[in-house]
Amino acid sequence: MTGGRPTHDGAPRASSTLPAPRFRRDPQWSNHVEVEAPVADRRLSGGHWWDPDRIAHVSDAPNHCPACGSGLDGPGSLAVEYWQGDDRTFHTRCGECGWSGDITKIDRMIGHEAPHD
């Protein structure tokens, strides 16, 4: 579909072993050269410009259930990162004990100031 066009650095495009997608084409008005990205190519390889960001997001994700200590990669388990303001939170569900809740990473504890009378 887009074969033969150069990549960002001008090198010839690597040929994919997957069949060309039937429908997808680059918009004619776009100046973006879309590199064909078969599913396997998206795995973390360290070679993609976005890999450091992905590694950073994964590196401190909770690995174990805070309630029972089971691994969060098991069947029925989940840890999905989302942001709320400055808070980086992992919504978590444990397939082993069923515990579900948010785990928020914090740099320091901040409390409220007691009221002055």
């Binding site: 997608p21 997808r24 084409r25 989302y82 942001w83 709320q84």
Partner: protein, 447 residues
């Protein structure tokens, strides 16, 4: 953000994968009855596997593996007989259960046929479509949702998209996209191209909520200018687990269907039952109106001047399988997280040998009613219906004019005298559908 392994588990639909095993506990529409009446065999690809679907002279349906167990020729090029489907290559005959009944070239008295069984699923008819089940026995009941079994004028636009079904489902629990993709972006296009984008879609979301329910996730919203008294919050509408969304308003009762063909292709259909309030009898139909709608133009660019075309742009440009290791979710994405959690829970149940507990039933029933707003976005019924039809994929329907008249007749039956054909035509004249039609005609004239 998801880990790569989890993204793969959530998106792989083939046999033997955790998600594939979960999805094999449900029924899927795989053909229109019309198609099987025109030619009694259809090739079907579902959850990464190929099948031959056929209709017998008795009216019963069968679905079996595409490849004949004998020499692996396609059963799609077979012969339909009273007893089942016969391979066109050497004549082996299979019944609905996949049992081989006849091997004409084998010696007389051979018992070989009795020892050959092909994989066969189950197929039934409902709402003008043929539904297939390819999971383990015993099959659950086919859920008879209101849209398919209630009286109404049935209209179904469909297409095949080159992307994974999950990214389409995640859109169904992402209410905020409505005010942007179908609101601000649509308005921007209208300002550029000279049409009126539906104003109802431009209202700001003040509050959203998601409730787990028996059939999926019920989605609620409060829009600016409205309150919790409005249907958008008081009633809401559900994502129907694991591959549909029930939606509508103003008498449009719709199921949005996303059948996973394989990991990177999805059959998308908008099945509507038009039941304008005030109307009790509807034009007679032999079959639902069905049509393939367009979403890419002649240059291969996305057609974005209608609601579903905008959704499709978002789904398809996420890639064949959305790379969720590179996403950045916020608080407004909690519906997406809730859906992923539901999938993980249900995948684990099936892995343990249990039935899913959502979107699944073994109880016999005649009809399942699903909650769905009538008063949508606080907009006048007729205006909403006409905006939906002219601003959505309904503009590709050969029955668009019939449907327009249905809503005008219903307004009159309700005693609403503010609507006339002229007023409806004026609304449509200024809509994206009409501007797009004029552009198409101009392009044809140039050629």
């Amino acid at each position: 953000m998801l880990k790569q392994e989890l993204n793969e588990q959530l998106t792989q639909v083939g046999p033997g994968t955790p998600m594939g095993e979960l999805l094999r506990r449900y029924w899927y529409p795989v053909a229109f009855v019309r198609e099987l009446d025109e030619w009694p065999i259809k090739k079907v690809r579902l959850l990464g596997e190929n099948f031959a679907l056929w209709k017998q002279p008795s009216g019963r349906y069968g679905i079996m593996q595409e490849w004949c167990p004998h020499r692996r020729a396609s059963m799609v090029y077979g012969v339909v007989e009273e007893e089942g489907l016969r391979c066109g290559y050497h004549g082996w005959l299979f019944d609905e259960g996949g049992q081989c009944l006849d091997q004409p070239a084998e010696p007389e008295g051979s018992t070989f046929a009795g020892r050959v069984k092909a994989f066969a699923g189950k197929a039934e008819e409902m709402g003008g479509m043929v539904w297939a089940y390819i999971g383990p026995d015993p099959a659950p009941e086919l859920p008879r949702f209101d849209v398919y079994v209630d009286d109404g004028f049935k209209d179904c636009g469909w297409t095949v998209l080159p992307c994974n079904w999950l990214q389409i489902m995640e859109n169904s629990v992402d209410p905020h996209h409505v005010e942007w993709l179908h609101g601000r972006y649509f308005k921007f296009l209208g300002e550029q191209q000279g049409f009126l984008a539906p104003p109802g879609f431009q209202k700001k979301h003040l509050k959203v909520a998601f409730d787990d329910m028996e059939w999926g996730i019920l989605k609620r919203r409060v829009l600016e200018g409205n309150s919790e008294e409005n249907d958008d919050w008081a009633v809401g509408h559900p994502l129907v687990f694991p591959y549909c969304m029930r939606v509508g308003g103003a008498g449009i009762e719709q199921m949005q269907i996303r059948v996973p063909i394989d990991d990177t292709h999805t059959w998308v259909a908008f099945y509507s039952s038009h039941q304008p309030p005030g109307m009790e009898t509807f034009p007679e139909q032999v079959y639902p109106v069905d049509y393939e709608f367009e979403w890419l133009d002649d240059n291969g660019e996305h057609i974005v001047d209608y609601i579903e075309g905008q959704d499709i742009m978002a789904w398809v440009t996420q890639g064949d399988i959305n790379d969720r290791t590179a996403e950045h979710l916020g608080k407004s994405d909690i519906g997406v997280i809730q859906l992923r959690k539901m999938f993980r829970e249900q995948m684990a149940l099936v892995a343990e040998g249990k039935d899913p507990t959502v979107g699944f039933t073994r109880e016999k029933h005649d009809r399942i009613g699903l909650p769905c707003e009538k008063d949508k976005f606080g907009v006048d019924y007729t205006e909403f219906a006409l905006s939906w039809i002219s601003g959505g994929s309904g503009r590709y329907s050969p029955a668009m004019d019939t449907i327009k008249k249905l809503y005008l007749e219903a307004a009159a039956l309700r005693g609403d005298t503010s609507w006339s054909v002229a007023r409806a035509d004026e609304l449509i004249e200024n809509s994206a559908a009409e501007v797009a039609r004029r552009k198409r005609l101009a392009a044809q004239a140039e050629r």
